[in-house]
C-alpha cells in the first residue's frame, strides 16, 4: 500500500526540506561558535589540505636521496631536517600524512558501512538474528584492537589490503553496537509505528526514517575512530607490520628515526608531532560533535 502524493503533501515536503536545510545551517553556525570546535574543524581542514596538496607543496620529492645532505638538523633549507639518506623530513611527513589519512578514511568508511548495516539489521529484526549478529560482534571485540590487527597482518602479511582489513574488523563491531543501540531507541518512537501502520516496508522505513535519526552517534564514533585508526596504523607501521618502507608513513618514519634518536631526534619527533596534532584535532572534533548531538553529555572534556 502506498499513500497518494497529493498536492498538500508535496507542498509540506517542500517546506520541510527548506526548514531542514536552514536548521542544518543554523546548527553548523552554532557548532562553530564554540572556539574549541572552530579550532578542531580548522585543524582537520588544514590536515586534509596538507594531505591533498602534499605533492605540490612539498619542497622536495619524498624519496629523493641526497647523501650530501645526510643528518641535517632543521634549517631554512630543510625545515624539519633530513634523515639518514638525506631525504627531506618535511616532504616525507607531508606525504606520510597522505597515506595515514587515506588509510584512516578508507578503513572507517568500510567499517562504518559494514557495522551500520549489521547493527541496523540486528536492532530492527531483533530475536535470533540480533542475538547471532551481536555475539559475532562480541567475538570481534574480545581481542584488543591493536592485538587483533597485529595478529591479522602478522599472519596474513602486511599488504595494504590486509592492513585496512585488520584495522577495520574491530571497528565494525564498534559501529554495530552503537547503531544497534540507536536503532532500538528510535524503533520505540511513535512515528515508526506510524510507518508500519501505513504499510511501509522495512528497508524503506530503515533508510528513510530510522537511520537518519541515528546519525548523530554514528558520526561522533566515525570521527573518534578516524583518529584512533590513524594511531593504530602508525603503531603497526612502527612495528613493521603496516605500511612498508620506503613508502613514507608517520609510523614508518618514527620507526626509521628510532635508531638515530640520540643524534638526529628530529627524524622521529617531527612525524610524531604531526600525528599528535592529528589526534588532538579528531579528539576535539569528536568531543564537540558529541556535545552538539547530545547536549546532556556537555560536561565531558
Amino acid at each position: 500500500m502506498t499513500y497518494p502524493a497529493t498536492q498538500p503533501d508535496a507542498g509540506r515536503t517542500g517546506t520541510a526540506a527548506l526548514a531542514g536545510q536552514s536548521r542544518r545551517y543554523v546548527g553548523l553556525r552554532k557548532f562553530l561558535d564554540d572556539p574549541l570546535n572552530a579550532i578542531s574543524v580548522g585543524l582537520v581542514v588544514l590536515l586534509l589540505l596538507l594531505a591533498i596538496l602534499a605533492p605540490i607543496i612539498s619542497p622536495y620529492p619524498p624519496d629523493e636521496l641526497m647523501p650530501a645532505d645526510q643528518w641535517q638538523a632543521p634549517s631554512l633549507k630543510h625545515w624539519m631536517g633530513t634523515d639518514e639518506h638525506g631525504r627531506d623530513v618535511l616532504s616525507r611527513v607531508l606525504h606520510g600524512g597522505r597515506v595515514s589519512l587515506f588509510v584512516g578514511i578508507v578503513t572507517v568508511a568500510l567499517a562504518m558501512a559494514a557495522g551500520v548495516a549489521a547493527g541496523a539489521v540486528a536492532g530492527y529484526r531483533g530475536g535470533l538474528v540480533d542475538e547471532i549478529i551481536m555475539r559475532l560482534m562480541d567475538i570481534l571485540m574480545s581481542i584488543p584492537g591493536v592485538v587483533l590487527a597485529l595478529a591479522i597482518v602478522g599472519m596474513l602479511g602486511p599488504s595494504l589490503g590486509n592492513l585496512i582489513t585488520a584495522l577495520a574488523v574491530y571497528r565494525i563491531a564498534q559501529f554495530a553496537r552503537v547503531t544497534r543501540g540507536s536503532v532500538l531507541s528510535v524503533m520505540a518512537r511513535d512515528y515508526i509505528s506510524a510507518c508500519r501502520a501505513v504499510g511501509m516496508g522495512p528497508v524503506r522505513t530503515m533508510l528513510l526514517h530510522v537511520l537518519p535519526n541515528c546519525i548523530g552517534p554514528i558520526i561522533v564514533l566515525a570521527t573518534v575512530l578516524l583518529g584512533n585508526v590513524i594511531l593504530t596504523e602508525a603503531t603497526l607501521s612502527f612495528l613493521g607490520m603496516g605500511i612498508q618502507p620506503p613508502q613514507a608513513s608517520w609510523g614508518v618514519m618514527i620507526a626509521g628515526g628510532n635508531e638515530y634518536l640520540m643524534f638526529a631526534p628530529w627524524i622521529s619527533v617531527a612525524p610524531g608531532a604531526l600525528l599528535m596534532v592529528t589526534m588532538v584535532a579528531f579528539n576535539l572534533l569528536g568531543d564537540g560533535l558529541r556535545d552538539h548531538f547530545d547536549p546532556r553529555s556537555r560536561s565531558v572534556l
Binding site: V147, L231, M241, S299, V300
Partner: protein, 315 residues
C-alpha cells in the same frame, strides 16, 4: 546481583572464547607460507638444503598433513588443557613462553593502572570542583593532550630525554640488573592515555553529582567542602570511573605491545612481535588467545564491580 548473574555472564564467555579460538586458528591457517619450512629454519622456498622427504617428515611430525578441522580440534583440545603446542622456532612449549612473558606484561599494566588512577582521579576532581576556573582549563588541556599523545612515540621521547640526554634511567635495562627502575619510563608512557581518560570521566561524573540536592544539603549543613567532595560526592561519582578503568585494560595491552618492544621488556607484546617476524604461528595464536582470555575476564570483573558499586543497576 546474584549468583545467577555471574553464572550467566560466565556461560556467555564460553561461546565468545570459542569464536576467538576459531578466528585465531583460521588466521593461522590462511597464513601464507609453510610452517614446516619455518620449523626447518627456511624462510623462503627454493632453498635446496633439505630434501622433500625431510620436509614431508617435518610436516607429519607437526601434524600439518592433517586436514584443517583435525588440526583445529587437536589445537583446541590441547588449549583446553593448557597445552598450546610447541614453538616452530624455539625449543619451548608455547605455554612456557607465554608463562614467562605474562608476569612482565601484567606488572607493566598493573603499575600503569595504579599510576593512571593516582593522576587521573585527583585531576578530574580538581577540574570539576574549580569548574570554569584556571585550574579546570589547565587540567582539561592536560587531559586532551594526554588522550591524543601516541603512546609509542611518547615512549621514544621519554627514552630520548631521560635515558639519553639525562641518563637517569637505563636504556636497555632488565629486571635482573636494574630492578623496578626499568618500568618507570614505560609506565609513564602508557599511563598518560588512561590517566587523561579517567580525569575526563571523573570530571564529568563529579560535576553531575555535585549538582544533586543531597550535596547542596550537605553544604547547607555547613560541612567543610573537602569533606563533602571526598566523602559524599566521590562515593557516587566513582562508579562510571571504575568502568573506564576496567575498559582501559584492553587498550593497555595493545599499547603495551609497542612499548615493550621499544623498551625491550620481555612481555607478551615483545613475544608476539618476535613471533610474527619469525613466522612462529603457534606462538602468535597462543598469545592472541591468552590476551583475549585475560581481556574477557577483565571485562567480566568490571561488569560485576560496576553492579556491586552501584546497586541501582543490580536488576
Amino acid at each position: 546481583m546474584g549468583i545467577n548473574f555471574i553464572a550467566r555472564r560466565l556461560l556467555l564467555a564460553i561461546p565468545t572464547l570459542l569464536g576467538v579460538a576459531i578466528m585465531v586458528f583460521v588466521l593461522g591457517f590462511l597464513s601464507p607460507g609453510d610452517p614446516a619450512l619455518t620449523a626447518l629454519g627456511m624462510t623462503s622456498e627454493g632453498n635446496t638444503s633439505f630434501d622433500a622427504a625431510q620436509l614431508e617428515q617435518t610436516r607429519h611430525k607437526l601434524g600439518l598433513d592433517q586436514p584443517g578441522y583435525a588440526r583445529f580440534a587437536f589445537w583446541l583440545g590441547g588449549a583446553l588443557t593448557g597445552d598450546l603446542g610447541r614453538s616452530y622456532v624455539q625449543p619451548y612449549q608455547v605455554s612456557d613462553l607465554i608463562g614467562r612473558a605474562m608476569p612482565v606484561t601484567l606488572a607493566l599494566i598493573t603499575a600503569t593502572m595504579l599510576v593512571a588512577i593516582a593522576i587521573g582521579i585527583p585531576l578530574g576532581i580538581v577540574s570539576a570542583v574549580f569548574q570554569g576556573r584556571a585550574a579546570d582549563y589547565l587540567a582539561r588541556i592536560i587531559a586532551i593532550l594526554g588522550v591524543s599523545t601516541p603512546t609509542f612515540w611518547l615512549g621514544l621521547i621519554l627514552l630520548l630525554l631521560f635515558a639519553y640526554t639525562f641518563p637517569i634511567f637505563p636504556i636497555n635495562g632488565s629486571f635482573e640488573s636494574d630492578g623496578p627502575k626499568v618500568l618507570v619510563l614505560p609506565v609513564l608512557a602508557i599511563a598518560t592515555h588512561p590517566a587523561a581518560l579517567i580525569a575526563r570521566m571523573m570530571r564529568a561524573s563529579m560535576l553531575e553529582v555535585l549538582g544533586e540536592d543531597y550535596i547542596r544539603t550537605a553544604f547547607a549543613k555547613g560541612l567543610p567542602a573537602f569533606r563533602v567532595v571526598m566523602r559524599h560526592a566521590l562515593r557516587n561519582a566513582i562508579s562510571p570511573v571504575v568502568t573506564v578503568v576496567g575498559l582501559q585494560f584492553g587498550n593497555l595491552i595493545g599499547a603495551a605491545v609497542a612499548i615493550e618492544y621499544i623498551f625491550a621488556l620481555p612481555g607478551l607484546g615483545t613475544l608476539m612481535v618476535q613471533s610474527i617476524y619469525a613466522k612462529d604461528l603457534l606462538v602468535i595464536q597462543g598469545v592472541a588467545l591468552v590476551i583475549s582470555m585475560v581481556f574477557i575476564a577483565a571485562n567480566l570483573v568490571v561488569d560485576l564491580l560496576y553492579t556491586a558499586l552501584d546497586p541501582r543497576l543490580g536488576s
